[in-house]
Amino acid sequence: MSTLHDLDAIEARIAARGVSVFYGEKRAIDDVSIDIGADYVTAFIGPSGCGKSTFLRTLNRMNDTIPGARVEGEIRLDGEDIYNSGMDVVQLRARVGMVFQKPNPFPKSIYENVAYGPRIHGLSASKSELDEIVERSLKRAGLWDEVKDRLTDSGTALSGGQQQRLCIARAIAVEPEVILMDEPCSALDPIATAKIEELIAELRGNYAIVIVTHSMQQAARVSQRTAFFHLGKMVEYGRTADIFTNPREERTKDYITGRYG
């Protein structure tokens, strides 16, 4: 069982209950239950191989593509079981967007990178509406001023930090409810990292954001709730401030203070 701090109930966008993930025989995630809402940014921390990324990926069924991967338990998005056979996975991934460790813009123009999602999901009726979505998404991602005069340039021509914000704009463009970020800053310099972190703070409230990070300082800076994973289990979950000043579990303490052997 996980050590769960006494917390106010949150309005859960995603509610995971008793989730276990198997890769063939190997149990990668063991009985994890957690609520994720838009009021707080949630950080998943833990040593490499602890299962935090695996768990993140189960939240929009990214593990489906891995042969032998199997999920037990229940994950509900606004009350709807996402592993239900009737669930449209493409639709699910629009509602639960993802930003990866390495920025991965399409080898297309900046404009097309953002317009692609709304177009395939039929979110715009006209070119002018699509233009609006692109502009709004780039603005929310804090990238508009830097790219507004060169929307036809290739997305891959941007700097790493700009590319990552472009990927965030791309995720936002389809009006998701949840944004999953898997180490979004590990390939970025400190300034670009700070911009992403500031962006996360601005997006909070509108989207339920989950961030997986190896940087404890980053988890402390951007999140209000932190879950510590170890060997596939969610060891402890609580307010970020409590986890980083007074964790209840010895394993949490050893990890965040740099004693993890």
Partner: protein, 225 residues
């Protein structure tokens, strides 16, 4: 705190910080003992030593401040490490005050007249022993990260306060009965006041030791109980 940090230099920094606090606490305790001795016996050489030692205590505080700031900046301590460093910063400030009070007591050594016949001189050492015991035990609690011992020190402060109240009454009536000793008796009031403050400061240190060890504030705990 049993397990070592993966980065060994971190442990070395923390160990050094704790060593400096222990040294500072030891010096402050010694100063209080010697200040009382100097006062009671009128030993002005000893009083001068106490006054001299206060500089060393002050410079230790500055050293602890610098080291703590460096640890925070370079190592970004978390959880009990963070509490440890913050507690060290605050404890150093408090011990510095204990050193000052001992210095004040030492400065009173040459202001007592007709020492042999001045009865209140025999009362203050018992009070000072109580406060000194608190300082001693709180430093032991710090070294052992012992919240139980720290809590016991906090509870002893009441005894020092009660002692102060009774000395205060004793000294005021002594003044009324022996107007010729008012100057000396007034000095003794200051001394008693300084000892009472040392008890309060030992209590503050104990509260920080408790916080560093448990992550909880003793005062919060008592309010809940």
């Amino acid at each position: 705190m049993g397990q070592e940090h993966t980065v060994k230099a971190f442990d070395e920094d923390i160990t050094k910080l704790r060593g400096l606090i222990a040294e500072m606490g030891g010096l402050a305790e010694m100063s209080l003992t010697e200040a009382m001795d100097a006062l009671v016996k009128g030993n002005l050489d000893l009083a001068a030593q106490v006054i001299q030692r206060d500089r060393r205590i002050d410079s230790l505080e500055a050293e602890i401040d610098k080291l703590a700031v460096r640890i925070i900046a370079l190592r970004a301590p978390m959880a009990d490490d963070l509490r440890e460093v913050i507690a060290a910063l605050k404890i150093a400030g408090v011990i510095e005050r204990i050193g000052d009070y001992s210095k004040n007591i030492a400065k009173s050594a040459d202001k007592i007249e007709q020492r042999k016949r001045f009865e209140p001189l025999t009362l203050v050492p018992a009070m000072s022993d109580l406060a000194r015991g608190m300082v001693h035990d709180v430093m032991t609690a710090y070294a052992a990260r012992d919240p139980v011992l720290a809590k016991a020190v906090v509870e002893r402060d009441e005894m020092v306060d009660a002692f102060y109240e009774s000395l205060f009454r004793n000294l005021t009536s002594h003044m009324m009965e022996n107007p010729s000793t008012i100057t000396s008796a007034a000095q003794m009031l200051f001394v008693a006041r300084n000892i009472e403050r040392i008890g309060d400061h030992a209590t503050n240190v104990a509260e920080m030791v408790y916080y560093a060890a448990t992550g909880e504030y003793l005062t919060d705990k008592e309010e809940k109980a």
